[in-house]
């Protein structure tokens, strides 16, 4: 099918969710997780201003680089690793077919 990819999301209990995602609707990973009712808050609505959509990119896909805003917001997050990203800054694109992400733990 056109403009539909499959992505894998591993939730905080380690369970894998295979999600179908449209790539022609300007959707990002935070929104995709929310629409699948996975526990991602998305408090700021996707503006890289809350870090509630912190996730790790576990596959070797070429995800577009972090902006300064995203780096800055990750400074206020915890459990940050080299593969940490804000889900709301990862826009679904055909090249991300098969992407695997893991939701980061939530702080206290």
């Amino acid at each position: 099918m056109d403009h539909i990819i499959e992505v894998n999301v591993i939730d905080r209990d380690g369970q894998l969710h295979k999600l179908e995602a449209p790539t022609d609707m300007g959707m990002n990973m935070m929104e995709l997780c929310k629409s699948a009712e996975l526990p991602v808050e998305g408090t700021c609505g996707g503006m890289a201003m809350c870090a509630s959509c912190h996730m790790y990119v576990d596959s070797s896909h070429d995800v577009p680089e972090k902006s300064d805003d995203e780096e800055d917001m990750l400074d206020e997050a915890f459990f940050v690793e080299d593969n940490s990203r804000l889900g709301c800054q990862i826009y679904l694109a055909d090249a991300l077919d098969g992407l695997t992400v893991r939701l980061a733990p939530v702080g206290q």
């Binding site: 700021c44 300064d68 780096e71 400074d75 206020e76 915890f78 459990f79 702080g107 206290q108």
Partner: protein
């Protein structure tokens, strides 16, 4: 004891607009907010971002919207208890609510309107094991009075303006030793603060540890040492009197969940007839409430506030009739 007609918990946009709508019905309001300033998310998270879906404003900065709401509410002289969290609610013999804050300030009113948004903004706490035991015993998340750190050894964590500014301030003749720890090498503060911190580090006045984070805290009773892990160079132990982690604020539902309200998914269930909760006399409006079709938008919260005060009026004055009056007829007659 502060007495009013409607006690509003949360001075975000919806709480502020409630003051105006209540004022039109000659009801007085008092606002309580855990933050030191009014405006809720608009002031705390995105004051400089333009909002495009406020009716009649093609674009308005969130901070300006708050200023205008304050201006619009001003004729009705709202009271404010800022920097205090609404903690407990009881009823007294005359069927009025007594609301007490975490600092013990008492408020009394026949009506409570919860406009608590996403909850109280609280400091983000690093996931260091056993950290809670050192809170106020060497670990502080907010610097209230810099004098508290005079001649003390202080470790600050964080990469933003507040971490930089406090490290600079304390290093210039207040603390005996200042360490600044940051996860990366780049800082996101204002360029001149970043430069100043670097200069102080060069001059040996700030010990700068980048690519590092605190992973452990130790002490007997009070904080004594921190374990700091560098990305590649392993761990080191720092002796210190204080650790101040500055990672910004994030909202938590907080005490609202203890008030016997029907709460689902961090939101208070309401009846859309008047936004009343399951407790008569307590209403919930704005981001904090939920009902079928709920949208967390400012404009929806304004509508909810308007209907809510009508119902509040009828509770306070069951024998009086309310007739809708346009503001164009008599203008706004403040208190």
């Amino acid at each position: 004891m502060i007495q009013t007609d409607i006690l509003i918990i949360g001075a975000g946009p919806c709480g502020l607009f409630t003051v105006f709508e209540a004022g039109l019905l000659k009801l007085r309001c008092h606002l309580i907010d855990a933050l030191p300033q009014a405006g809720g998310q608009c002031s705390e998270i995105y004051p400089k971002k333009p909002i495009y879906d406020i009716p009649a404003y093609p674009s308005i900065l969130a901070g300006d919207l708050v200023d205008k709401l304050m201006e619009q509410a001003a004729p009705f002289q709202p009271g404010f208890t800022l920097g205090e969290r609404a903690e407990t609610i009881e009823k007294d013999a005359e069927d009025q609510f007594i609301l007490t804050t975490n600092r013990g300030t008492k408020h009394r009113a026949p009506i409570i309107a919860i406009a608590g948004g996403l909850g109280c903004f609280e400091p983000r706490k690093p996931p260091v094991p056993g950290l809670a035991a050192f809170e106020d015993r060497g670990v502080e998340y907010i610097i209230k009075d810099p004098e508290f750190y005079r001649e003390k050894r202080v470790v600050i964590s964080g990469g933003g303006d507040s971490a930089l500014d406090w490290a600079i301030f304390l290093a210039e003749g207040v603390a005996s030793h200042v360490t600044l720890i940051h996860r990366r090498q780049e800082f996101r503060g204002h360029l001149d603060s970043v430069q100043k911190a670097m200069d102080l580090a060069q001059a040996g006045k700030i010990q700068l540890l980048t690519d590092s984070e605190v992973t452990e805290a130790h002490g007997d009773g009070a904080l004594k040492t921190l374990v700091v892990k560098h990305k590649t160079e392993g761990e080191r132990t720092l002796e210190t009197d204080h650790w101040v982690p500055l990672f910004g604020l994030s909202p938590k539902l907080g005490p609202i969940s203890d008030w016997n309200l029907n709460v689902t998914k961090n939101a208070v269930e309401v009846d859309t007839f008047d936004y009343s909760t399951n407790i008569p006399g307590i209403y919930a409006i704005g981001d904090i409430n939920t009902y079928p079709g709920k949208l967390k938008l400012i404009l929806c919260g304004f509508h909810e506030a308007t209907l809510m005060v009508q119902s509040a009026f009828k509770r306070i004055y069951p024998d009086k009739n309310l007739v809708l009056k346009y503001t164009t007829v008599n203008g706004v007659n403040g208190f």
